[in-house]
Symmetry: C2
Subunit: 307 residues, 2 copies
């Protein structure tokens, strides 16, 4: 049967069946309504023990500090260079993140993209020693292919930097940069020495960090299309998942549950906006969200097999 070759990295069971039932039901919808959105960190690729974007920024910091040692005098940078986890927690990730944004200010989008691409070409995961290409989730790559085979338009809606993800979205997921919605750093319009229009990265956010309710607003602001499928893995995806489900039938929201300490990592998302301390994975089912267990629903996790 043809069905047997669909989603081979997914174990047979209710989750895989629910996914395939949704995809097949969407065949009855107008093509323009077949819109799917995926979170990135922890949904399409591994986000532990650190976000890939943080590793990129650390790499930028180390390279910058090598040629300008005075950078290490700045508190937000020093705690990173010293790997002082306690001091990092005290300062807070937000303040550190904004300080790191400054490292790439004043450069154009092309140079930023080149730096990100070069980072991924040389960087290896700190615990697994492999490229991040090998830390994409094979079941999700198959799901993207399956959705596209049913004429879905597939977008990434990330809490991370839009330009960061755009730099690798084509290579990693076959997703063009215009199909990526994320947190945005503003640009200054200027002219170069030859009078040509040029954009330079600033240190300011444009709009809000793309997490939670802003994910929903930014989907409308930047795409103007409403998803009928959404996948995520954390409370920051909650509103987006609910938003997809609220379109009626057929629609689907999928939550990746990181419950596989052996093959990946085990960690739960807190309920966030749901005003309860229960793990988001527990709250999700009551909202109609389909929870995919990495341990039991995924036969394979990474493209090159078990690591």
């Amino acid at each position: 049967m043809v069905t047997d070759v669909r989603l081979p990295a997914w174990n047979h069971g209710p989750t895989r069946t629910a996914v395939l039932d949704f995809v097949d039901a969407a065949d009855a919808l107008p093509v323009e309504s077949r819109v799917a959105v995926f979170d990135n960190d922890g949904t399409l690729w591994c986000e532990k023990p650190n976000y890939p974007q943080l590793m990129f920024m650390l790499d930028e910091l180390r390279r910058a500090a090598a040629s300008d040692p005075t950078l290490a005098e700045r508190l937000e940078y020093r705690v990173l260079l010293d790997n002082d986890v306690h001091a990092q927690a005290e300062i807070g990730l937000e303040r550190i993140a904004f300080a790191l944004i400054e490292l790439c200010s004043g450069i154009g989008p092309e140079e930023f993209g080149d730096r990100v691409a070069a980072f991924f070409a040389r960087h290896r995961h700190q615990e697994r020693g492999v490229s991040y290409l090998d830390l994409r989730y094979q079941p999700m790559l198959e799901l993207i292919d399956e959705l596209r085979a049913h004429d879905f338009d597939v977008f990434i809606v990330t809490g991370g930097g839009a330009e960061f993800v755009r730099s690798i979205s084509q290579m990693f997921y076959g997703v063009t940069p215009d199909h990526v919605v994320g947190s945005l750093v503003g640009y200054e319009f200027t002219r170069d020495s030859k009078g040509r229009p040029t954009l330079l990265r600033t240190t300011e956010l444009f709009g809000e960090v793309n997490e939670g309710a802003p994910k929903v607003a930014n989907i409308q602001l930047q795409l103007g299309r409403r998803p009928i499928f959404a996948a995520g893995n954390s409370p920051g995806d909650a509103e987006m998942l609910e938003y997809a489900l609220a379109t009626g039938t057929p629609s689907m929201a999928l939550l990746v549950n990181h419950d596989d300490a052996e093959r990946e990592y085990a960690y739960a998302g807190r309920a966030g906006s749901f005003e309860t301390d229960a793990p988001f994975e527990e709250t999700a089912s009551s909202l109609g969200i389909t929870v995919a267990s990495m341990r039991s629903d995924w036969a394979t996790i990474f493209p090159v097999g078990p690591i």
Copy 2:
């Protein structure tokens, strides 16, 4: 020869040849770099004697005032309902436009889109008596088709409202809503009576009006891709046209010159950011921009032939 069927609404001559030479040269480029952006008002459809979006907002105002006569007491609305052109000029289009935005505040994107679609279904051009579908420019529709035949990704970058243009971009141009960049009204995230996530239009702009330098910044912010082809018709497109040209060869910037009083309208764009009083059409050539004369370069202007 196959060449004879390309761009049939364009007269043979240097402009048509330049367009075809560019399209053919782009065949040598990676597909992902084949990005084309088009302004909308005056570039893809007729913007005279009034912007279609202003006609829509006037229509909204008349319908709202019919059920709530107190609206006519507000100065910005009264000068419109009275067709008091002098008072309109005194108040200024910007103040009037912001007042009109309020008419659609508090509704969701779907209802807004439905209102726009319904308007275009019933509205007829005030002087020509035809649907706006018949006031698209046939040569530009052919150019979009030609670019797509050469694997270009085609985007609209409008000074008008993004959501307004998105409501008709698929029907008018085969352009999906996510391929439209424009001026944005913000959304408030809320929940409906059943607790479902909902977006409601506010009265605030999100970011800047999408004209001039902001067009360039918004192309990067929302699309993350750099155009090698740009078409426009006014000083508000100048930076975008220069930006496309600055990518090197092959690249092309096309300026539609409204010099055909007989078949369309004759009006010139002022030079805007170029700090000269010369019409933009004169300044353009010195910047390497190709000027398309509606009068001499276009054999046909509208899809249904001369009106």
